[in-house]
């Protein structure tokens, strides 16, 4: 997997100074092992343990013992955990395409020659990136709740009643909207910078051939930014699997979001509310492995070289 250039040029250098790259990496490696690798192994170990009560008295004493794969069996047979994946799928089907679609649309509009107010729009669309997820969810929560929502104010004034943002099927859209709002700007910038990298001559050639601005966008620009779309798609997908903050912040405001609405919420509940760290660790391991598998599959099916070489 080595790049061709350094291999050819730097071979003798490499032998002479073999320690240098390790020294450059050493601070990062130490931190990587300490805060990623070791916790991961610890989670693996924890997932094979369990707390069991034994001893005298009504409350007994809790002891940690080895329980084998019990926690994994409990996780994969848990209705809460599995249903969470179902809801996650619905949420993802809304959030991922819309985040990418809107990001692409805005990037193309920014890049188009026929639009105005570009700098303002680009900045405005990028602003939500600076708003922490917890705060964004709170803000949208206020905008959703019938009594405090300006949207419902308008519909009520029109005699249409309030909008049930946080119940029924619109709930999925409402939760996804928070992620879309926070994510469009960043993805738009990635795609937009990719668009700016397309040589002007290619676009001009298409225009001279009589292509409209729309045709240039669809036939010339979009195919050339597919790599950027794959990357943003991957981020959106990972983000989807890790959805946690938005539904958690909205949860106290509605009866429609359970504490196990998405898998990470189940993990959090098991770890902190139910004090079953081993079960949470097992579910985390499953989720991490799942994320890895889905990501690899996505990259394989779209573009093998996307992550391989720089």
């Amino acid at each position: 997997m080595a790049t061709a250039r350094p291999v050819a040029a730097a071979a003798p250098v490499r032998r002479r100074r073999s320690l240098a790259p390790y020294l450059f990496m050493s601070p990062g490696l130490v931190l990587f092992v300490a805060f990623l690798l070791v916790p991961m192994c610890y989670a693996l170990w924890l997932s094979l343990r369990g707390f069991r009560v034994s001893g005298p008295g009504p409350f007994g004493v809790r002891e940690e013992t080895f329980v084998g794969l019990d926690n994994y069996v409990a996780a994969v047979t848990s209705r809460d955990f599995l249903e969470g994946f179902g809801r996650l799928a619905v949420y993802g089907l809304i959030a991922v395409p819309l985040t990418l679609g809107l990001a692409l649309l805005f990037a193309l509009l920014l890049d188009a020659t026929t639009t105005r107010a570009k700098r303002f729009s680009r900045t405005a669309i990028f602003v939500p990136y600076a708003v922490p997820g917890v705060i964004a969810s709170l803000l949208w929560g206020f905008l959703y709740l019938p009594t405090t929502s300006p949207f419902s104010d308008v519909t009520q004034a029109l005699g249409l009643g309030t909008i049930p943002f946080l119940s029924g099927t619109s709930l999925y859209g409402s939760v996804a909207n928070i992620a879309i709002w926070g994510g469009v700007g960043f993805n738009m910038i990635i795609i937009y910078t990719s668009l700016r990298g397309i040589p002007v001559e290619i676009q001009e050639a298409a225009r001279i051939d009589g292509a409209s601005e729309l045709q240039v966008a669809l036939r010339v620009k979009v195919p050339l930014v597919v790599p950027a779309l794959v990357l943003t798609g991957l981020f959106a997908l990972i983000g989807t699997l890790q959805v946690y903050g938005e539904p958690t912040t909205l949860q106290p405001m509605t009866t429609s979001i359970s504490q196990t609405w998405v898998p990470l919420m189940t993990i959090y509940r098991d770890a902190f509310t139910r004090d079953d760290l081993p079960l949470a660790a097992a579910a985390s391991v499953l989720l991490a492995v799942g994320t890895l598998v889905v990501s690899v599959l996505l990259l394989r099916t779209t573009q093998r070289r996307a992550f391989g070489e720089g």
Partner: protein, 298 residues
């Protein structure tokens, strides 16, 4: 990026005998769509700014976009809350994000530079381990990280949030991509022939070339740490160590005997996002977000 906007105006080209206008006529629909997108992104921000001017009574009783009369009082309450807890949280956030992002940038840059510019045993293994790290959900790490931190006696301290924030697999990945593209092997080789050691080659030749990439990694990490909630929430228990996200969350989630402090949380949210937006706008011309997708141009 701001500079790029005006830099590449296409040269006028005659089309079928008709003079092509230097700048095509604006079309209403695309511009309207773009402005609609801008509006969509600004509405909640506008809402929080308006809501922060409302007194506690007005918050729940007046039209949502009507400005209130309580801004000064809210600000006073906010800064007085918990013996000046809010300014402390802001300072903590600044320390976590500022120090964390600087250290993270340095660590990632050196790491990425080594991965991109050297060939050594274990290089691919390390690179794929880093890529795997990008995909790990934060929450799966937060719990074991907390347990391990307590074992070494760091839980609840600044270090427990700062140290894990420094390691950023994504930052390393970006640095590797950027170093691969920005530092030519020939330049490094020339420095070596001139007698520069590897460290000198890195600091004198590599770092200046890597600067734009470093600014980007810094910004991404700064925003990432600033917005992080779960790690400090799990690690910290002393209110005086909280960053803004956790502090504002606790304002909203006080226990049963205490009412939700919505108006404080709202004005706090408004005050905390304004500087970050300003920082982003200020720095956005220096960022090179294209390097995020740069690795994919193949």
């Amino acid at each position: 990026m701001a500079a790029l906007d005006t830099a590449t105006t296409p040269a006028p080209a005659p089309v079928r005998g008709r003079p092509h206008p230097r700048r095509p006529r604006a079309k209403v629909l695309p511009t309207a769509v773009l402005l609609l997108g801008a509006l969509y992104c600004l509405v909640p921000v506008a809402w929080v700014l308006v809501a922060s001017t409302k007194s506690r009574g007005e918050l729940f009783s007046t039209f949502t976009f009507a400005p209130g009369t309580g801004l000064l009082e809210n600000l006073r309450d906010l800064f007085a809350y918990g013996d000046g807890a809010f300014p402390l949280w802001a300072a903590n956030s600044l320390v976590f994000a500022g120090v964390g992002a600087v250290l993270s940038t340095l660590v990632s840059t050196a790491f990425g530079y080594a991965l991109a510019k050297y060939d050594f045993p274990g290089r691919n293994a390390i690179f794929y381990a880093v890529l795997g790290g990008v995909l790990l959900p934060g929450i799966t790490l937060a719990i074991p990280q907390y347990l391990l931190m307590t074992k070494i006696g760091l839980a609840g301290t600044y270090w427990s949030v700062l140290l894990p924030s420094i390691i950023s697999p994504f930052g390393i990945y970006l640095s590797r991509v950027y170093a691969g593209a920005a530092v030519p092997d020939e330049t490094m080789e020339a420095a070596r022939i001139d007698g520069a050691g590897e460290w000198r080659t890195f600091t004198a030749i590599g770092l200046p070339m890597l600067l734009p990439g470093m600014v980007t990694v810094f910004m991404l990490q700064f925003v990432g740490i600033w917005n992080n909630f779960l790690l400090p929430f799990v690690m910290l228990s002393d209110e005086r160590h909280y960053p803004l996200t956790v502090g504002l969350y606790t304002l909203l989630a006080k226990g049963s005997g205490e009412p939700a402090l919505y108006s404080l949380a709202i004005v706090g949210a408004a005050v905390s996002i304004v500087p970050l937006i300003a920082l982003l706008l200020l720095l956005q011309r220096f960022w090179r977000v294209d390097l995020v997708s740069g690795g994919l141009k193949g």
